[in-house]
């Protein structure tokens, strides 16, 4: 029973703290820092990993007490309500399980979902278990279409026969199996609107590929699915995002991993993934200048951060892209391509880029 391992890990964690209280020690939790200062970019494996810097969280410390309580509370709820019953719950559900007011105070154990989300991430780092092993799932945020047949919880799904919506990718993709895959590559895009456009144009059929999207940041389930298709089915993956620092970062997360989930990089990163667009050169080449959007203060701030990330720093191509973005003082959405005609993207832009292998690494 996989649940038993998870339960035991959590129990071990609890016992360790109880031992401290028995000895009369201020209870503490040691855990690696999950911020930029403790993120190491491993140039060899090209992935982000967590460094050795540890933080200590004490219960009898005003600044830590609440977080300490949150971590223990979430751990005990996961053990009692999910693992013991074999049920799964969404991040949002865990938040509501945790949210209550401490008697005699006006303090809530958690006020915002980020707090319970963080507690779950803490538990992953502490126990070495993944969120999936803790029976916690995230919202489904992504879709997939293409010549691929998968098995999901006993059901067989043909992703070429799912109409305009496509297959709704579950938040846990570890247990999916691929019955049949007939595609040359995977095209992943940041915008669901573009996904819908390409699906309507039956781009995947004409070009023999699989289309995957998520709204904004790529969820863990999608990253794991992409990684598995890349590794198990040897499918190249091309990523399409907006031309802004946020879009570039989305690509880097798929490729190298993210700061928040550096502890889980191994199961999520895809170093071989390529960036298709939109690039600064595309803007010149496809004459998109009229459809640029001026950078705002946050965009500029984000560029400054991204430029300095170790995994962007040594990459001349990306430094050039970011520099040009700053010079243009503008960003562009993928949708800007529609200004060239409604199917310009599916009939000209993508086929040309892919044929010429006009990618960034």
């Amino acid at each position: 029973m996989p649940e038993e391992d998870s339960k035991n890990s959590l129990k071990k964690f609890g016992k360790k703290i109880v031992e401290q209280t028995k000895k009369g020690k201020n209870p503490e939790i040691k855990l690696p820092l999950r911020n930029l200062s403790n993120i190491i970019y491993d140039k060899k494996s090209r992935t982000l990993t967590l460094g050795n810097k540890e933080g200590t969280r004490n219960f009898f410390n005003v600044a830590h007490a609440k977080k300490f309580l949150q971590t223990i509370e979430v751990a005990s709820l996961i053990k009692k309500e999910l693992l013991n019953t074999g049920k799964h719950e969404h991040l949002r559900g865990v938040f509501y399980m945790t949210k209550r007011t401490i008697p005699g105070t006006n303090v809530n154990i958690v006020d915002e979902q980020v707090e319970s989300d963080k507690a779950i991430e803490d538990l992953e780092v502490i126990t070495g278990l993944s969120r999936e092993q803790l029976h916690v799932s995230a919202n489904k945020m992504g879709s997939m279409v293409g010549n691929i047949i998968i098995k999901d919880a006993g059901d067989t799904i043909d992703c070429s026969k799912l109409g305009r919506g496509g297959y709704s990718i579950p938040s846990i993709t570890d247990e999916l199996s691929f019955s049949k895959v007939n595609a040359d590559y995977i095209l992943y895009m940041e915008k669901a609107a573009i996904f819908e456009r390409l699906n309507e144009d039956k781009f995947w059929r004409k070009n023999n590929c699989i289309l995957v999207t998520s709204q904004g940041q790529t969820t863990r389930g999608i990253r794991r699915l992409l990684q598995r298709l890349y590794e198990e089915k040897k499918l190249p993956i091309y990523v399409m995002t907006d031309f802004d620092a946020w879009g570039f970062y989305i690509y880097s997360v798929i490729k190298y991993g993210s700061i928040a989930l550096a502890h889980a990089s191994e199961k999520l990163t895809i170093p071989g993934v390529k960036f298709l667009g939109i690039t600064a050169d595309d803007i010149e080449k496809y004459d998109l200048k009229k459809h640029l959007i001026k950078l705002n203060d946050q965009d500029i701030k984000r560029i400054k951060q991204v430029v300095d990330y170790d995994w962007f720093k040594d990459n001349k191509d990306w430094q050039r892209q970011l520099k040009m973005m700053k010079q243009m003082n503008a960003k562009a959405e993928i949708q800007a391509l529609s200004s060239k005609g409604i199917s310009f993207i599916s009939e000209e832009y993508l086929p040309e880029k892919i044929k010429k292998k006009d990618f960034l690494d």
Binding site: G14, I17, F59, A65, L69, E73, L77
Partner: protein
């Protein structure tokens, strides 16, 4: 021809202005602008006189103030003291002749200055009710008391005696004045009660009993049994003298030559310096003072201003002192923290002065309001024209944000705070004759700010400590609330007994609490 006729016409109109006419037209200058203020001013002048008299004769003052309403707009005010009393012949002059007094010509720290106060009240009473003012005064237990009823002859500015008799008075010595006037009795910040309360704060040696028009008795007890050090009288310093004053002094001088006039009638002028001043001004030092011309006097003043002369002696000042300010405040204001500062003497325009400030924080003081300001000059509360006063400006110009109070730009700070500012001087510069606001001399503002800053530093360390202590207490209670929650969750997680975990956590907190509580206790001790 025409001009001559005009002059004659004018001459017909030109006559002496009677003192009552002058008073009626200029009553605002003397603090009788309206019925409210008239009532307060009268109480104030009488109480000031009582206190000055007691202190001059080394008697611990015991003053009884009584106000009765006699008709809708009339009040009978009586103020009785245990002072030395007034000799019979002087009584009519002191109470019923304007501009009569001993204080105007001397440079000495005292409450009254111009000798106009109480007789102005008598005049006001007479103008508004037509009734005479009643005085009883007794100078020795062996002698009977003298009783007078007085009017002022408003044309001649002379006393008009209505009744003059001897009587028994069950008191060793003292004076009582009773007069009736048109007035309005006001409560609140500018009322009699507030004035008396502030008087009690700034004069902790005073025992004051007050019967209000509602016939309630309010007693302000004495906090110290010693009198303030009697201020010494000093001669004027040359820097403070103006042309008119110099000419008058020269006329009245008994000295036979200008050089001895300068060295005997002024402080800090040695015979050598006197000669030097004369030489520089081009006046022969043998000249008789009354023979010095206006031009020469003018030159002399210029020379004085350009010459370096040591500051006047400052032993003429009698500060309240930090300890007594605290005593006075503590008995009348309920706060959590008090601090007081007495600055060393300083000089403006040749006049010695010193500034004292005190601050009270917390307790009953309202938390959200602007700070309460108590202003005093020579131990007299100033209730009117707060915004025109140098003390108010100094408070506004001090950055209270640095001391843990909130303050908007150009405004008084806010918070549960009372600030007291006292200026003692041989000559307090007021913005007007009604003595309501202190003039903005840079030297005075500078001293005020220094005193306020010191008070600020003291209060800020207190504020920081109380905030810290409160935070510590909150910490402990926070942990107490968290412990059962943590114990329950840990018990679920580890399958250990909840009660055991809870007890262990409580023990850890208790041990840690000793440190926290020790910190709080330490904070208290330091106060």
């Amino acid at each position: 021809m025409a001009e001559k006729i005009k002059a004659i016409e004018l001459a017909k109109k030109q006559r002496e202005i009677s003192i009552s006419e002058f008073f009626t037209k200029n009553r605002h200058l003397l603090g009788f602008d309206n019925p409210r203020k008239a009532l307060l001013t009268t109480v104030k002048e009488a109480v000031d006189n009582s206190l000055d008299a007691c202190e001059e004769m080394n008697v611990l003052p015991e003053v009884i103030v009584k106000i009765e309403q006699t008709s809708e707009e009339r009040f009978r005010i009586s103020v009785e003291d245990n002072g030395p009393g007034i000799v019979k012949q002087q009584i009519p002059n002191i109470f019923a002749k304007l501009l009569y007094g001993s204080k105007f010509h001397s440079l000495k720290q005292s409450r009254g200055q111009q000798g106009i106060g109480i007789s102005a009240s008598v005049m006001y009473s007479q103008l508004t009710t037509g009734k005479p003012t009643k005085i009883i005064s007794k100078i020795s237990p062996k002698k009977p008391a003298n009783y007078y009823e007085l009017h002022i002859d408003t044309k001649k500015n002379e006393p008009e005696i209505v009744i003059d008799k001897e009587m028994d008075w069950n008191k060793d010595h003292g004076t009582k004045i009773e007069l009736e006037l048109e007035g309005i009795y006001q409560k609140g910040k500018q009322g009699v009660e507030e004035y008396l309360k502030q008087t009690a704060i700034i004069n902790p040696h005073l025992h004051l009993i007050y019967y209000s028009p509602e016939n309630t008795k309010i007693e302000y007890p004495r906090a110290v049994d010693s009198l303030p050090v009697e201020p010494k009288e000093i001669k004027p310093h040359p820097y403070g003298v103006e042309l008119g004053m110099l000419i008058n002094m020269m006329k009245e001088s008994k000295s036979r030559n200008i050089s001895s006039f300068l060295s005997t009638d002024f402080s800090r002028v040695s015979p050598n310096l006197a000669k030097e001043l004369c030489n520089k001004a081009g006046i022969s030092d043998k000249t008789h003072p009354s023979k010095v011309s206006r031009e020469e006097a003018d030159k002399l003043i210029k020379v004085i201003r350009e010459t370096k002369i040591i500051s006047p002696p400052t032993n003429c000042l009698s500060p309240i002192g930090e300890e007594l300010m605290l005593k006075g405040l503590k008995k009348e204001i309920n706060a959590d923290f008090y601090a007081a500062v007495t600055r060393p003497p300083s000089v403006y325009r040749g006049n010695p002065f010193l500034v004292e400030a005190a601050i009270a924080y917390g307790g009953d003081l309202p938390k959200e309001d602007l700070v309460r300001v108590l202003r005093f000059a020579n131990r007299v509360p100033l209730l009117y024209q707060q915004s025109a006063c140098a003390s108010t400006r100094s408070i506004i110009q001090t950055s209270w944000n640095n001391y843990g109070l909130s303050q908007s730009k150009g405004a008084l700070p806010s918070g549960p705070v009372l600030i007291l500012v006292h200026v003692a001087s041989v000559w307090v510069p007021f913005t007007s004759e009604s003595k309501e606001a202190i003039a903005h001399y840079p030297e005075i503002i500078k001293e005020m700010k220094l005193a306020l800053q010191e008070c600020g530093r003291k209060v800020s360390s207190y504020i920081r400590k109380t905030v810290k202590a409160r935070e510590q207490k909150e910490k402990i209670s926070l942990f107490e609330k968290y412990i059962p929650e943590l114990a329950a969750a840990l018990s679920d997680l580890s399958d250990e007994k909840k009660s055991v975990i809870e007890e262990d956590l409580k023990k850890i907190l208790k041990r840690g609490m000793k440190n926290l509580l020790a910190e709080i206790a330490e904070t208290k001790e330091e106060e």
